[in-house]
């Protein structure tokens, strides 16, 4: 049976192979890294794709590289070592900053970059994506002792986000 760590190792390989310029785990699994287990079914990975001459952002290179290694695409996911993974190109300056400042953690000997909790909260509170579930997850994270409340306040103010 594949191991969760093996899927994380593939992310690092993708970065080494320049298929991804940078990555960081985001979404519910990032919450799990920072606080308590929550139900989720996939791994969201925030990414910067390598520079390209095309103005259109496409995940074709990602899917091709993974497909050549036997990892199949299913709808908007790719199943890597048994784990459905969704690659999310950074969509704005907040996502860029979340990616740039991600923490390097260790999972069973495998290094993994994870979006810091203050940035996860800010991403959950972005206008246009504020669903009740995302607000609930922001609230769950916000009460975690791992959150730097001063950094969070500064971040929300700088990006004009409301709790």
């Amino acid at each position: 049976m594949p191991r969760f760590a093996s899927a994380l190792a593939v992310l690092n390989e993708m970065k080494s192979a320049a298929v991804l310029e940078e990555y960081a785990v985001a979404g519910a699994m990032a919450i799990v890294f920072w606080t308590e287990p929550v139900p989720t079914y996939d791994l969201d990975v925030l990414v910067w794709l390598p520079p390209s001459s095309s103005p259109v952002v496409t995940l074709t290179g990602v899917y091709t590289w993974l497909g050549a290694r036997g990892y199949r695409a299913e709808a908007e996911h790719v199943v890597i070592e048994g784990l459905p993974v969704q690659f999310l190109p950074a969509h704005n300056a907040l996502a860029d900053e979340a990616l740039r400042t991600a923490a390097s953690l260790d999972y069973e000997g495998i290094p993994v970059r994870v979006v810091r909790p203050e940035y996860l909260i800010a991403l959950y509170l972005e206008p246009g994506t504020r669903t009740p579930r995302r607000r609930e997850r922001a609230a769950l994270l916000a009460e975690s002792p791992r959150v730097d409340q001063q950094r969070l306040g500064e971040l929300l103010e700088r990006y004009g986000l409301e709790r």
């Binding site: 049976m1 594949p2 191991r3 969760f4 093996s6 899927a7 699994m29 799990v32 890294f33 606080t35 308590e36 287990p37 929550v38 139900p39 989720t40 079914y41 996939d42 299913e74 709808a75 996911h77 199943v79 070592e81 048994g82 784990l83 459905p84 953690l105 999972y107 069973e108 975690s144 002792p145």
Partner: protein
């Protein structure tokens, strides 16, 4: 007719605080699990939640119990 809402026995404030404290302790324990234990807990949550979710709506292709070891 008696008013059930006024005659029903209620828990004391101390009992409610004790219950909330117990819940907070449980959550703190779960926060302090190792990362591998947390991934194991996510898989357990998937086993518990998916049948309930499936009763409410069709499951999406990726909504399944992860076939992997933590």
């Amino acid at each position: 007719m008696s008013d059930a809402s006024t005659s029903r026995r209620r828990p004391s404030r101390e009992l409610l605080e004790q219950l909330r404290e117990g819940k907070a302790q449980l959550r703190a324990q779960r926060r302090n699990l190792s990362l591998a234990e947390k991934v194991g807990a996510v898989i357990e949550l998937q086993r518990a939640c998916l049948p309930l979710l499936a009763r409410q709506r069709p499951l999406r292709s990726w909504e399944r119990v992860w076939d992997l070891e933590p």
